[in-house]
Protein backbone atom coordinates (compact mmCIF):
# COMPACT_ATOMS: atom_id res chain seq x y z
CA UNK A 1 0.00 0.00 0.00
CA UNK A 2 2.07 2.86 -1.32
CA UNK A 3 1.59 6.03 0.71
CA UNK A 4 4.05 8.42 -0.96
CA UNK A 5 4.46 7.70 -4.64
CA UNK A 6 7.10 9.21 -6.88
CA UNK A 7 7.19 9.07 -10.65
CA UNK A 8 9.24 8.30 -12.51
CA UNK A 9 11.67 6.27 -10.40
CA UNK A 10 14.46 7.01 -12.86
CA UNK A 11 14.68 10.07 -15.05
CA UNK A 12 17.32 10.91 -17.63
CA UNK A 13 17.49 14.39 -19.06
CA UNK A 14 19.90 16.44 -21.08
CA UNK A 15 21.91 19.36 -19.81
CA UNK A 16 19.63 22.42 -19.85
CA UNK A 17 16.45 20.51 -20.75
CA UNK A 18 13.60 21.19 -18.29
CA UNK A 19 12.39 18.23 -16.29
CA UNK A 20 9.47 17.66 -13.92
CA UNK A 21 9.35 15.11 -11.14
CA UNK A 22 6.08 14.20 -9.51
CA UNK A 23 4.94 13.09 -6.10
CA UNK A 24 1.57 11.99 -4.84
CA UNK A 25 0.36 10.88 -1.42
CA UNK A 26 -2.57 8.92 -0.05
CA UNK A 27 -2.05 10.04 3.55
CA UNK A 28 -3.89 13.36 3.29
CA UNK A 29 -1.00 15.07 5.03
CA UNK A 30 -0.95 18.84 4.90
CA UNK A 31 2.83 19.23 4.58
CA UNK A 32 4.85 18.05 1.60
CA UNK A 33 8.60 18.33 1.17
CA UNK A 34 11.18 18.00 -1.58
CA UNK A 35 14.70 16.90 -0.74
CA UNK A 36 17.80 16.48 -2.84
CA UNK A 37 20.16 13.68 -1.85
CA UNK A 38 23.58 13.15 -3.34
CA UNK A 39 25.67 10.04 -2.93
CA UNK A 40 26.80 9.32 0.63
CA UNK A 41 25.09 12.44 1.96
CA UNK A 42 22.02 13.14 4.04
CA UNK A 43 18.89 14.48 2.32
CA UNK A 44 18.98 18.24 1.83
CA UNK A 45 15.68 20.11 2.09
CA UNK A 46 14.87 22.21 -0.98
CA UNK A 47 11.41 23.51 -0.01
CA UNK A 48 8.14 22.50 1.54
CA UNK A 49 4.46 23.28 1.31
CA UNK A 50 2.42 23.81 4.45
CA UNK A 51 -1.03 23.38 2.91
CA UNK A 52 -0.79 25.84 0.01
CA UNK A 53 1.91 27.98 1.55
CA UNK A 54 5.22 27.56 -0.24
CA UNK A 55 8.43 27.80 1.80
CA UNK A 56 11.78 27.93 0.06
CA UNK A 57 15.04 27.13 1.81
CA UNK A 58 17.45 30.06 1.61
CA UNK A 59 20.09 28.14 -0.30
CA UNK A 60 17.80 26.45 -2.84
CA UNK A 61 18.81 27.63 -6.33
CA UNK A 62 16.25 29.51 -8.43
CA UNK A 63 16.59 26.72 -10.97
CA UNK A 64 14.33 24.64 -8.72
CA UNK A 65 10.63 25.38 -8.57
CA UNK A 66 7.67 23.56 -7.15
CA UNK A 67 3.92 23.35 -7.62
CA UNK A 68 1.24 21.87 -5.43
CA UNK A 69 -2.10 21.90 -7.31
CA UNK A 70 -3.94 20.01 -4.55
CA UNK A 71 -3.35 18.19 -1.26
CA UNK A 72 -2.33 14.96 -2.94
CA UNK A 73 0.12 16.10 -5.58
CA UNK A 74 3.36 18.05 -5.61
CA UNK A 75 5.77 18.64 -8.49
CA UNK A 76 9.43 19.55 -8.66
CA UNK A 77 10.45 21.50 -11.75
CA UNK A 78 14.10 21.87 -12.67
CA UNK A 79 14.20 24.58 -15.28
CA UNK A 80 17.70 24.09 -16.65
CA UNK A 81 19.34 21.02 -15.17
CA UNK A 82 23.09 21.09 -14.80
CA UNK A 83 25.45 18.20 -14.23
CA UNK A 84 25.53 19.13 -10.55
CA UNK A 85 21.79 18.52 -10.26
CA UNK A 86 22.18 14.80 -10.82
CA UNK A 87 20.95 13.27 -7.57
CA UNK A 88 18.17 11.37 -5.88
CA UNK A 89 15.11 13.55 -5.31
CA UNK A 90 12.96 12.57 -2.38
CA UNK A 91 9.42 13.64 -1.63
CA UNK A 92 8.10 13.43 1.92
CA UNK A 93 4.88 14.24 3.76
CA UNK A 94 3.96 14.90 7.36
CA UNK A 95 1.13 16.04 9.55
CA UNK A 96 2.89 16.20 12.89
CA UNK A 97 6.32 14.85 13.72
CA UNK A 98 7.29 11.89 11.57
CA UNK A 99 7.95 12.46 7.90
CA UNK A 100 7.05 9.72 5.44
CA UNK A 101 9.36 9.46 2.47
CA UNK A 102 8.69 8.26 -1.03
CA UNK A 103 11.06 5.90 -2.86
CA UNK A 104 12.77 8.77 -4.67
CA UNK A 105 13.50 9.63 -8.28
CA UNK A 106 17.04 9.15 -9.50
CA UNK A 107 17.87 11.98 -11.91
CA UNK A 108 20.67 11.60 -14.42
CA UNK A 109 21.83 14.62 -16.42
CA UNK A 110 23.70 13.92 -19.65
Amino acid sequence: DAMVIQNPRYQVTQFGKPVTLSCSQTLNHNVMYWYQQKSSQAPKLLFHYYDKDFNNEADTPDNFQSRRPNTSFCFLDIRSPGLGDAAMYLCATSREGEQFFGPGTRLTVL
Binding site: V4, Q6, V31, S40, Q41, A42, P43, K44, L45, H48, Y50, N55, L90, A92, S94, E96, G97, E98, Q99, F100, F101, G102, P103, G104, R106
Partner: protein
Protein backbone atom coordinates in the same frame (compact mmCIF):
# COMPACT_ATOMS: atom_id res chain seq x y z
CA UNK B 1 24.27 21.62 12.19
CA UNK B 2 23.50 20.39 8.72
CA UNK B 3 25.12 17.25 7.40
CA UNK B 4 28.03 18.03 5.13
CA UNK B 5 30.12 14.85 5.05
CA UNK B 6 31.11 13.16 1.81
CA UNK B 7 32.33 9.92 3.37
CA UNK B 8 29.96 7.95 5.51
CA UNK B 9 31.42 6.28 8.57
CA UNK B 10 30.92 2.54 8.40
CA UNK B 11 30.10 0.13 11.17
CA UNK B 12 30.89 -3.50 10.35
CA UNK B 13 29.32 -6.20 12.49
CA UNK B 14 28.91 -9.95 12.41
CA UNK B 15 25.46 -11.37 11.88
CA UNK B 16 23.87 -12.02 15.26
CA UNK B 17 25.89 -9.38 17.11
CA UNK B 18 24.35 -6.25 18.56
CA UNK B 19 24.96 -2.95 16.75
CA UNK B 20 25.18 0.51 18.23
CA UNK B 21 24.99 3.54 15.97
CA UNK B 22 25.68 6.93 17.51
CA UNK B 23 24.60 10.42 16.61
CA UNK B 24 25.37 13.85 18.04
CA UNK B 25 22.61 16.37 17.48
CA UNK B 26 23.04 20.09 17.30
CA UNK B 27 20.02 21.98 18.61
CA UNK B 28 19.25 22.06 22.32
CA UNK B 29 15.71 23.15 21.48
CA UNK B 30 14.94 20.01 19.46
CA UNK B 31 12.36 17.88 21.21
CA UNK B 32 11.69 15.09 18.76
CA UNK B 33 14.20 12.67 17.30
CA UNK B 34 13.86 10.04 14.61
CA UNK B 35 16.02 7.26 13.26
CA UNK B 36 15.68 6.43 9.58
CA UNK B 37 17.02 3.45 7.66
CA UNK B 38 17.88 3.93 4.00
CA UNK B 39 18.63 1.00 1.76
CA UNK B 40 20.42 1.48 -1.52
CA UNK B 41 18.19 3.13 -4.12
CA UNK B 42 15.29 3.65 -1.71
CA UNK B 43 13.89 6.48 0.35
CA UNK B 44 14.51 6.76 4.11
CA UNK B 45 12.29 4.48 6.15
CA UNK B 46 11.14 5.32 9.67
CA UNK B 47 12.56 3.00 12.33
CA UNK B 48 11.85 4.52 15.71
CA UNK B 49 11.37 7.90 17.32
CA UNK B 50 11.73 9.41 20.76
CA UNK B 51 10.57 12.62 22.39
CA UNK B 52 12.69 14.71 24.69
CA UNK B 53 10.67 13.77 27.77
CA UNK B 54 12.01 10.23 27.47
CA UNK B 55 15.53 8.82 27.60
CA UNK B 56 14.83 5.37 26.21
CA UNK B 57 12.36 3.79 23.86
CA UNK B 58 12.21 0.23 22.63
CA UNK B 59 10.81 -1.27 19.49
CA UNK B 60 11.15 -4.64 17.91
CA UNK B 61 14.89 -5.43 18.06
CA UNK B 62 15.69 -1.71 18.19
CA UNK B 63 16.23 0.65 21.11
CA UNK B 64 16.84 4.37 20.98
CA UNK B 65 18.64 6.15 23.81
CA UNK B 66 18.59 9.90 24.28
CA UNK B 67 21.06 11.83 26.43
CA UNK B 68 20.00 15.45 26.40
CA UNK B 69 22.84 16.54 28.64
CA UNK B 70 25.44 15.81 25.97
CA UNK B 71 23.04 15.98 22.99
CA UNK B 72 23.62 12.38 22.03
CA UNK B 73 21.35 9.85 20.43
CA UNK B 74 22.03 6.19 19.83
CA UNK B 75 20.32 3.35 18.01
CA UNK B 76 20.84 -0.17 19.24
CA UNK B 77 19.95 -3.09 17.00
CA UNK B 78 19.80 -6.48 18.67
CA UNK B 79 20.83 -9.66 16.85
CA UNK B 80 21.80 -7.81 13.70
CA UNK B 81 20.72 -9.48 10.46
CA UNK B 82 21.93 -9.11 6.87
CA UNK B 83 18.71 -7.25 6.09
CA UNK B 84 19.79 -4.56 8.52
CA UNK B 85 22.60 -3.52 6.17
CA UNK B 86 21.80 0.06 5.16
CA UNK B 87 22.63 3.68 5.91
CA UNK B 88 21.13 4.96 9.14
CA UNK B 89 20.34 8.63 9.67
CA UNK B 90 19.33 10.33 12.87
CA UNK B 91 17.16 13.43 12.56
CA UNK B 92 16.12 16.12 15.01
CA UNK B 93 13.24 18.56 14.93
CA UNK B 94 10.52 20.32 16.90
CA UNK B 95 7.28 18.41 17.30
CA UNK B 96 3.94 19.79 16.19
CA UNK B 97 2.94 21.60 13.03
CA UNK B 98 5.56 22.05 10.34
CA UNK B 99 8.83 20.39 11.19
CA UNK B 100 12.13 20.93 9.46
CA UNK B 101 14.18 17.80 9.94
CA UNK B 102 17.88 18.27 10.53
CA UNK B 103 19.66 15.10 9.49
CA UNK B 104 22.88 13.75 10.88
CA UNK B 105 25.63 12.66 8.53
CA UNK B 106 24.57 9.02 8.43
CA UNK B 107 26.30 5.77 9.29
CA UNK B 108 26.62 2.81 6.97
CA UNK B 109 25.96 -0.52 8.70
CA UNK B 110 27.55 -3.53 7.02
CA UNK B 111 26.49 -6.92 8.35
CA UNK B 112 28.77 -9.85 7.58
CA UNK B 113 27.68 -13.50 7.74
Amino acid sequence: GESVGLHLPTLSVQEGDNSIINCAYSNSASDYFIWYKQESGKGPQFIIDIRSNMDKRQGQRVTVLLNKTVKHLSLQIAATQPGDSAVYFCAETHSGGYNKLIFGAGTRLAVHP
